[in-house]
């Protein structure tokens, strides 16, 4: 079995499971309780804030925990819009963001906000110049992902941070970059940043939002005041502990893991050269090591995924034909030809993957792709 769908989710690291077990079994208190058990739990949460803050070069008070990145994106974007609507009603984002950003933007448009959607270039990069052009006097927020989840390109966040005036905040959806690519919110000029646990061998159901001190975010959820009043509800202490542990592991091993994974990526791309008409999407010079987006001509992506699964190889496609438009909005946004768009696979690695996994993938591809191409071309 070769699990190569780590951008969908990862298998949690054993250390993560171990520390979470401990919290579930022993430190089950509610951080809001005033007794000893509560205090223990609160310490775990404070400790986790520190770990995340260290990783981002932020301070612990700037971190709140959420149920995941989708929730963090919602709280950030809606919260800024709500808090600064008198300053301006214009927001800027790109057309290849995650749906939790795009749908939030759409909802804001219905509430009278204006949103400019910037198209990425064919190399999978949003140009800094295009962002600059989109910004107006009344722009209150630019929201951009750090690493694109389908093609893996690393966006020029730092440059964009530099061109924004003091009245325009920068929100970064860092789900695919956090842990894997260095992030420094101070240096990069990031005001808000969302991240998720389960993409970095942490648990599901946990994420975090960094909010720079001094940035006002109006609450969109109401309750007991946890998470600086922005994310009420009893803290998911085991999840928080697990996220912190995963973060710590990346802090310690990240560099070594990146090198290993980069090796797997190169092995894979080299191996794919023999398979006939293919495209590797996104600028390889500016992409993360763990994502390979490859398109095969004249292959139905969904059938390809099922066929690979039958061979024990698990990957994903951006072109589920159940979705209305053929192919993903990301591949659409980078202008990939339809013949290739339909047959696009996203292969994504975790540090647990091996060269054998890549070999299995290549063997399965060699077996399945020619047959599907033949079948498709007969139609």
């Amino acid at each position: 079995m070769a699990y190569l769908d780590n951008s969908a989710t990862t298998r949690p690291h054993e250390e993560v499971l171990r520390v979470m077990w401990e919290v579930y079994a022993d430190h089950y208190g509610n951080p809001s309780s005033i007794h000893t058990r509560g205090l223990e739990a609160e310490r775990i949460v404070r400790g986790a804030e520190e770990v995340l803050a260290d990783m981002l070069n932020a301070s612990p008070e700037e971190i709140i925990f959420t149920s995941g990145a989708s929730e963090a994106n919602n709280i950030a974007i809606q919260g800024i819009a709500k808090a600064y609507r008198r300053k301006g009603k214009h927001l800027v984002t790109s057309t290849f963001e995650h749906s939790s950003v795009l749908e939030t933007m759409k909802a804001l448009e219905k509430q009278g906000f204006e949103v400019t959607y910037v198209n990425p270039k064919a190399n999978g990069m949003v140009s800094v110049k295009d962002i600059g052009k989109a910004i107006r006097k009344d722009t209150i927020l630019v929201s951009l992902m750090h690493v694109n989840n389908e093609i893996g390109t690393i966006q020029s966040i730092e440059e964009i941070g530099r061109i924004l005036g003091p009245g325009t905040f920068l929100h970064v959806d860092a789900v695919q970059g956090f842990g894997r690519v260095p992030l420094d919110v101070r240096r990069m000029g990031i005001d808000l940043l969302s991240l998720s646990g389960h993409k970095i061998m942490g648990p599901k159901g946990i994420g975090a939002l960094y909010i720079r001190q001094g940035v006002r975010v109006a609450p969109v959820l109401y309750g007991g005041g946890q998470g600086h009043g922005l994310r009420p509800g009893t803290e998911n202490v085991p999840g928080i502990r697990g996220l912190a542990e995963a973060t710590r592991l990346w802090e310690v091993h990240g560099e070594e893991w990146s090198v290993r994974v980069q090796g797997l990526k190169e092995q894979m791309i080299a191996g794919l050269q023999g398979v006939g008409e293919i495209r590797i999407n996104g600028d390889l010079e500016r992409a993360v090591p763990h994502i390979v987006s490859v398109s095969f001509a004249d292959v139905p992506g969904e059938v390809l995924v099922h066929s690979l699964a039958k061979e024990g190889v698990f990957v994903s496609t951006g072109s589920a034909c159940s979705s209305k438009h053929k192919g993903s909005h990301v591949l659409h946004a980078i202008g990939l030809d339809e013949r290739f768009r339909e047959g696009t696979l996203r292969v994504s690695f975790s540090p647990m993957n091996t060269q054998r996994d890549v070999e299995m993938f290549l063997e399965a591809i060699g077996k399945v792709v020619p047959l599907l191409q033949k079948m498709k071309r007969r139609r």
Partner: protein, 393 residues
């Protein structure tokens, strides 16, 4: 106690005892499969009586009985002694605590030993209820509720509120058929319609994984779970290995004949399965003219490969009617899940609406039809599905 009435099967002359026995069997089995333990089902002169240990169970059993084919109406019944005073008390008990409204009493007396004639009983019971309640009045033409009093030799039954059953014939009295079940909206409705006419149905699903999603197999099993709620036994799903045939058709048959040839292969396989398993007919969810392949010409060419009768119970329905039925049956929400064979490689953008038999025969020459059919049947799995899922032995 619940009183169960059945209609159509009362008309069936000499077969009647067999039909009745089957219905009783189906009721028993259905209740048992739904988890009921303490109950008794008796057949008495054109009625079936179901006694349960508690009234709470009665309410739940009612819901089950509404899914048993052959039942026309179900009423909750109280038994009274063969004595007018007791009948009055029982009737009052049934009506007391009801919302204000009108009622009438109807009496049927088959036990002629009872000293009062029917109109007298109705009058006495009605009068007693009127005297002892303050929010009810009598309306003999359009009452809100009818109180039925049945005076029979074996006992006196008083009941109100009969709810309608689904009618039809008890499943199993008309033998067995095999139905081609896709994940779509139509074939589960055809399944239900077949059950309604008293046949036992074994569904056949053609599985083309990996050309279709594993989730579409799940979907078919989920549909069978719902359908198993209407059958006296669990559903014996025939899961046919269709991948090789799918592949062969795509590679060797011209695209615009693909669907026709595919359907012919499905029919061939279905007929053989039916013969092995004592099926007397094939059933499909086809309707006329709904999609390009469902023309009379196309049906003729497809039908050409089988000798068993092919029943198409949906032929008289519009799409809206089918959708409505599927919603009532409970399969609609499953059928509209997105992963069906949308990626099917066979579907051509321009299928032939009027395929010609000669062309089709010529196209099939390139296929090892017998070999493919034999392989598909050999690799067919039978999955027993009950209301809660797959049964393990």
């Amino acid at each position: 106690m619940l009183l169960i009435r059945y209609g159509e099967i009362g008309l069936k002359g000499k077969n009647r005892p067999m039909f009745e026995k089957k219905l009783v069997y189906n009721i028993r089995n259905g209740l048992r499969r739904a988890g009921f333990k303490d109950f008794r089902v008796e057949r008495k002169r054109g009625r079936i009586l179901l006694s349960m240990s508690s009234v709470l169970d009665e309410e739940k059993a009612e819901a089950e009985l509404r899914k048993v084919f052959g039942i026309v109406a179900i009423s909750r019944v109280r038994q009274a002694n063969s004595d007018i005073f007791d009948i009055q008390e029982v009737a009052l008990g049934l009506l007391k605590g009801r919302q204000a409204g009108t009622f009438k009493v109807e009496t049927r007396r088959t036990d002629k030993r009872f000293p009062l004639i029917s109109p007298e009983v109705s009058r006495l019971v009605g009068g007693y209820v009127l005297e002892n309640t303050d929010n009810l009045s009598v309306d003999v033409h359009h009452p809100d509720v009818v109180v039925d009093v049945e005076i029979r030799q074996e006992g006196v039954y008083v009941y109100t509120d009969s709810i309608r059953g689904i009618g039809g014939l008890p499943v199993g009295v008309n033998g067995k058929v095999h139905l081609l079940l896709s994940g779509g909206i139509d074939s589960p409705v055809a399944y239900w319609m077949s059950l309604k006419r008293g046949v036992e149905v074994e569904p056949i699903h053609f599985d083309s994984h990996p050309f279709t999603s594993e989730r579409s197999r799940e979907k078919v099993i989920d549909i069978c779970k719902v359908l198993a709620g209407y059958t006296p036994e669990s559903v014996a799903l025939q899961l046919v290995y269709f991948t090789e045939i799918h592949k062969a058709i795509v590679l060797d048959v011209h695209a615009d004949l693909g669907v026709t040839v595919m359907r012919r292969m499905m029919f061939r396989i279905s007929e053989q399965i039916a013969k092995q398993r004592n099926g007397l007919a094939l059933v499909t969810g086809e309707s006329l003219g709904q999609v390009a392949s469902q023309t009379l010409e196309s049906m003729a060419v497809i039908n050409d490969v089988v000798r068993l009768p092919v029943l198409r119970p949906l032929v008289g329905f519009d799409k809206e009617e089918i959708v409505l039925r599927s919603q009532n049956i409970g399969t609609y929400d499953i059928s509209i899940r997105p992963y069906d064979d949308c990626c099917s490689l066979v579907v051509s953008s321009s299928p032939k609406t009027r395929p010609n038999l000669e062309q089709v025969l010529k196209a099939e020459e390139k296929l090892d039809v017998d070999g493919l059919v034999a392989e598909a049947i050999e690799k067919t799995q039978v999955i027993m599905v009950d209301r809660k899922g797959i049964e393990s032995d």
